[in-house]
Symmetry: C5
Subunit: 315 residues, 5 copies
């Protein structure tokens, strides 16, 4: 079900409501309008975006399509942006002189927050729709940081576990994490480029005095993509470490086996040669010699060697 | 056998037929013509392209040669493009004010589809030959997506199988997949560059109002080459994972061998020393002691250890 | 607790003191002022920076935030810089015609040193606030070199230890070192870019005749980031070496085991076949034959093989 | 022995001969001359190039030196090029308004072919010396393709052999192949750059209407360097595959050993414990029991396990 | 001990001597001067460079500091360069209209050679101080080639030895070689950039007609940095090869062990079961059966297997 939320700002007075508010608003008037469309249908987009606002069909299509990467297209009476959010696929925004239309599939935290803050935040109301867009994108971009921190923790955690007890499951987790980070990277690079472009003043309907705000988001975005790169680096290191830890473990086990064989094989040979048929072997005449012999073997040697061997990994 | 299909669009009337339609058309007239040549012969190209249309010999040669990479060459009265399709080697296109000549070896889905849609699609007819070219290239580029998804599935599948039971055959598949992706990459980079150049307005016979359509293809092409890069990344990860999984498996097997030896070798030594000539070994006198002894060994120890060992891989 | 240190330079006379000195100073006067703020509070920044000096809220926020990367923002009556120091997160600097405001969290060696040198150093006093900024940044950047040398020593040391006796702990240290170097790299690249930009003359309030000083810092910064890159390279080499050293060790151990088995197993078989029931085995009748047999096995063979095996690693 | 071949084209009449033809030709006349010098001596170059044609000493030196990379130097009355051929080190070319001097050490297929074709090819004669240069370079560049295909086949072959039976010799071949490809790459990059520069029209004595021909060579050169890159990629993959195949093989062998030990060691222990002194062992009394026992062991177990083990590799 | 050598060229007459010659020379006269300072002291530099010639303090400092990377700084009446030589840290050069001051720590072959050649080489004398600088730098740069060839030989040698008998010491050598090459690379990149800049004509006191000479050095420098890159590549390949060779060796040894066990263990079991108490074992009654049994085991089996095992590596 698609839902439409409309906010109209007229002479600093704010009215919030549903699609019915659109009718009263005029493109060449002074009133500014923000229309947020959640889970749009093709019909709605055509009706509202193409017919009512005269947006280009390709832009309207892009706002529906699932995989569009962040981009900016300039049109005569509006700017078209696609941004990427952490939670949803993307946020499409049509920004004009006195209107902002945002389209997204799925709930978007940043939109909700700004919508609720609008009645109280004089500043957004007085600064215009481009500043409104800044506030939304700013919240959206900053939502990347907790996610990145969580990924960093995951990698740290995996690294620690690998040093404790490397297992194929860790590799699997690492590969999945890597793929997630790769997806983020693929989207963050064009997003960074997009914000760079806006902050340079290339977007027609972003006012000069607000460029510095977008520059600020760009700086955050730059930090995000740097962090992503460094996480990729860490993961590669962890991958290599995994292999080394396993190689080390094999080496340890082999040493145990070799030390054991070095002691046991010659003794076994000696035992084989002489058949231990010496005349002086008093144990043979003990009553409990048989069970004792087995017992000593088990407790004596296993105790020494068994510990590091068994704690070295799990099956 | 080379085949020629001709479509003439005159005052919004469309006639489709074979090479005989070319004669009626004039380069300085108003009628627009689309000539599609499948599996051309050298003679045909020389006759039709060099003599009738006056195309440059190098362009005509390029449209025959098998390995030309995507490119754009500007000539006084036409633009020459080479695009890459998924199914066939390439599509060469000569675009003039009122003509479009497309040349390809082998059947090309996109061409067939547009050819069939032409009689019904008013828009293509009225928008001119550059828009017609857009429609063809758009279909051609979008044909990459299902292929890329299939490759992604293959890699996922391989990764899963490697974690279950890594085998050299998986490596072999991975290397073949990698080569295919490398070929795609090698062709997608100049193709992306070519579309960027067209969408910037560098091609003479693409009208300004249609640039945005080529920009849209460029965005798709950008996503394609990003996806290719990320698939290459995934494959490298899988390669590394393979090695780690094998190392892990060797480690597991070595541990089994070592645990086994740690238990067995000392016991064998003890048995060797005392010859088990104890006075109190009642089993020696049992009737079925001999078969029982062998049986216990087989079921007792193998049952415990044999399972993970045998399921760990196949020969 | 935030602390403020103020230095006022009036007609070559220097007065140093606390925040009370700010009042006497005027933005359009001739006196120059340097205000250093350590561990600022939000309230203080708003009061002092935004109200008294009229700095932009975003710049004021950046000077508080923990993770801002090195940057430069131009404002009408001042330049805003963020630099990175080795000891603290960052140094924010507001540079105007006759004022320099530096903000940092935590003690900063370079600031303290310049503050103390100020009364004696005629040159800083006479050259103005941009030269003062140069002196601070110069000290701050040069503090990287001892750190880099220490890291280089660490890597050398690790490499040597790995060749002597590779252990998982070395890997762990290497990964931690790598992360530290990655963090340095992430910060040094934008810092280098920032210094390049200043030395090119892009900052409004750095005088032309002082550009060469910033160019000198830029050269140092360039060397720092080159050194970081080469350290990353060395670490990758060490990582690979680790794996090879372990593989080598496993190989050595396996050879010992195989040589041992090649000698022992056939002998054991022979002993098993003939039961050594030969008629001519005089040792069986010795009194001390039993203990002697065990003893010979231990000293004879272990002496030869045991040494390289045991020195090859530790458990 | 240096050899000189001269072709003079005067009013579409062609005379071919030795150095004596040079005397009749004049720099400001209409006749065009092509001088090809094979295996030049320093004296000859100084006499002919520096004195007769007035070429710069550095250019003359470059045309002798063995390792010069592809380059272009502009001089007032001529262009100086260095190209790289597959067979010989390089081809130096001095191109003026009406002369072309080519210098090379060793036989060069392309030169011979064009020299022989000259009397029959009206086109070369009428198009001038820059078109003549194009024909030579075109043949020279296209000689890379068969070589690249051969390398690709080699790598494919090696890959296949590695999967069948990996051996250190394969590694060795791979490293040698890699070095050859690296050398080609090192030369192809500046060559590509050089052709790009010529096709852009930067060379003074290449006529505008012939630029498209050099553009065509550039496209081929581009494809060559792309192919080289992809071959490097394939080789890296093969290198990694080698390691994985070996790891796999070790794993297989270890499994055989472990399965064998799991079966044999417990049985040997049991045999050791009971000494097999059971009362009911009828085989002991058979006449052929001794040879039979050995025989069974050999055929029974070796037959099952021996095959994959021996076919798994060679010593 | 710092040493100063001075050469004064006045109307094509050359006088060479010590620091006393400086006094007679005047900055606005026609006489040209070359001052070479070896192992300078801080005092000397201040006295001579800062006071007598008026060089900037930063440039003077740079000419003393040990780690400055190649660079160019333009000053009103002179150019300041830092070049890197193979033998010493660096060569600093101050080039003016009629003076050249070169500063270096340690003996520099190129300087000595040019100094000695000066009296005989009319060309250097007549071409001016910028040409003199060219001759020095040319010799200095060309001194890289023998070094690079030596490194290439070392890597080839190491590669060959690794295939014959891989040992950790080879790894160690490889890592050291890699570090040396990395240092060369770090210095060659800015040096190349510097020469590019000079050959483009950016240095004020290099005359237009001499640019082509610096362009020639740039071409050499380009080849040097390409060679360095390819050596890095070769080393990475060698590193990977090392690991593969070791893996191969372990594999070989494991196969020997497994084949041995496959033959021996079952036989040992059989011997254990039947105790070889067959009634028909004639060897037991031989006089020399005991020593013969041990002997056969040693010569029989070891001869076959022992060879490849022992030649496969060393401990």
């Amino acid at each position: 079900m698609s839902s439409i939320r409309v906010s109209v700002l007229d002479s600093d007075a704010l009215r919030q409501g549903d699609a019915s508010l659109i009718e009263g608003w005029q493109r060449d008037g002074d009133a500014r309008i923000w229309i947020d469309i959640e889970d749009p249908t093709e019909a709605l987009l055509e009706e509202l975006l193409e017919k009512r606002f005269g947006f280009h069909e390709l832009a309207a299509e892009d706002s529906l399509s699932k995989n569009t990467l962040p981009k900016y297209d300039a049109f005569p009476h509006y700017d078209f942006f696609v941004f990427r959010a952490v939670e949803v696929n993307k946020l499409s925004a049509f920004l004009g002189r006195n209107f902002l239309v945002t389209v997204h599939t799925g709930k978007l935290q940043a939109i909700d927050e700004i919508h609720d803050r609008l009645p109280e935040d004089k500043r957004i109301v007085s600064n215009g729709v481009d500043y409104l867009l800044y506030e939304i994108v700013d919240l959206m971009i900053d939502a990347h940081f907790p996610l990145l921190e969580k990924i960093e923790e995951c990698v740290d955690d995996l690294q620690e576990q690998i040093f404790l007890n490397a297992q194929p499951a860790h590799l699997d987790q690492l590969l999945h994490l890597k793929r997630d980070v790769n997806v983020m990277r693929r989207q963050s690079l064009p997003q960074r480029e997009l914000l760079n472009l806006i902050s340079r003043g290339d977007a027609t309907f972003v006012q000069k005095q607000h460029l510095i705000y977008f520059r600020d988001i760009y700086d955050h975005m730059f930090r995000i993509s740097e962090t992503i790169d460094s996480e990729r680096d860490m993961m590669s290191g962890t991958m290599e470490a995994y292999l080394s830890v396993i190689a080390n473990r094999t080496n340890e086990i082999m040493r145990v086996l070799t030390v054991l064989s070095t002691i046991m094989l010659p003794l076994t040979l000696i035992a084989g040669i002489y058949g231990m048929n010496f005349e002086h072997m008093p144990e043979l005449h003990w009553l409990h010699g048989y069970p004792f012999a087995l017992g000593r073997a088990k407790t004596g040697i296993c105790e020494e060697i068994g510990r590091p061997l068994l704690s070295g990994g799990s099956s």
